[in-house]
């Protein structure tokens, strides 16, 4: 298992009702698989996972990226206000 930390920002933080969360995931899980897992564990984030910006240890991560051990994963939703 891989113990990771999730950080939530902006509207995602409001939806999930917390700033961060620690959880265990299978090793070799990709970002895309993590998004799917989050959508299942937190149904009200399912829609948000379609357009979220995700970073691994503060670097932009593409869907196919494999999550390294003890990674810090941050989820930033797009915002459009101006």
């Amino acid at each position: 298992m891989n113990h990771i930390k999730l950080l939530f920002f902006a509207t995602i933080r409001d939806r999930v009702g917390m700033k961060s969360l620690e959880l265990d995931i299978p090793t070799d899980l990709t970002i895309l698989q993590l998004k799917e897992k989050i959508g299942v564990d937190y149904p009200n984030l399912k829609e948000s996972m379609k357009s979220v910006l995700i970073t691994i240890n503060r670097e932009y991560a593409f869907d196919e990226a494999v999550i390294p051990l003890n990674a810090e994963i941050a989820l930033f939703p797009p915002v459009s206000g101006g």
């Binding site: 920002f9 902006a10 509207t11 939806r15 009200n44 829609e47 948000s48 379609k50 357009s51 910006l53 970073t55 503060r58 670097e59 932009y60 593409f62 941050a74 930033f76 939703p77 797009p78 915002v79 459009s80 206000g81 101006g82």
Partner: protein, 384 residues
Amino acid sequence: MIEELSHDQILRYSRHLLMPEVGLQGQIKLKNSSVLVIGTGGLGSPVALYLAAAGIGRIGLVDYDIVDSSNLQRQVIHGTSTVGKLKVESARERLQDLNPDIQVDIYNEPYTSENAMRLAKDYDLIIDGTDNFPTRYLTNDVCVMLGKPNIYGSIFRFDGQVSVFHAEKGPCYRCLFPEPPPPGLVPSCAEGGVLGILPGTIGTLQATEALKVLLGIGEPLIGKLLLYNALDMTFDFVKLKKNPNCRVCGPNADIKELIDYEEFCGVPGHHADDTSAGADWDITAQDLKARLERDPKLILLDVREPHELEIAAIQGAKNIPLGEVAQRMAELDSAEEMVVFCKRGSRSARAIEILSSAGFKKMKNLKGGINAWAEEVDPSLPLY
């Protein structure tokens, strides 16, 4: 080309001239520079004010809206005396007072696929101060196609984002967000609110980046996204990468000319806050009043947040905030006719979508929300 500064200008810009990073040559460069600011709202206000004060020789302003008193909590380029005027004219007056040396071009029109290239092509860089996704994707694609830097800023409630998208040197907006969010998922500031100072913080950062790019000094936010949270007072930086599959700046890009951005995002780009559930669902405030006189037991569903009820409420309405509608629909009877409302009509439209997919049919959406009700039926309620 203007080669020199007058004595008056040397005095005006002396604090810039004292720093070698700007200096006389840098100030002349700024005087010969041009910037197009898309939107003269929360972000456009500080951006245009500071760029005008800094002596950018030509500033273009694009907006189609009129100054409203609900703008003044954050759109500091406008004032009480310009409420009701065109935003671009109100802004130009303020800029010309601040700095009569500069040229201010105004475009009182929406920024669309039809005019965007023509408006942007004669400016050195573009500031994204828009308030909706379609115009953000449009601004990005125009900058990629014209090879111009796009100084991006975006806000919501207490959160802000800033970056410099310059596809020749780093990623673009589409590299980060290849797909727009599903329609209705991300609330606008008109529905969700925004801290009035937030666009000041983000807009001044955009103006700083614009100045650095024009002068070629420092480390602009190319390949970096700055994320600001006012409540935590945190500035986080994220390293960005160019997306090899980017549809507009990648090696296999398939978007070669501007597209229909409203269709791409599934939402209107202009007056995005006035979205409705579709004409079939709509009921006007006047019609609702008449219906209630005939049928006082008609169910009213208010999908605003509880704290908004303190501002204005319609007596007898049941309150289920939009975010809880899916979980709490058992409290509603699909056999009974129901009128759904929010502040302006877009959250209630979303609630109707949710309820409709769960089998509810006898619903109406109060067009223009409780604000329309206050305007047309019950003037004792405030507009907000």
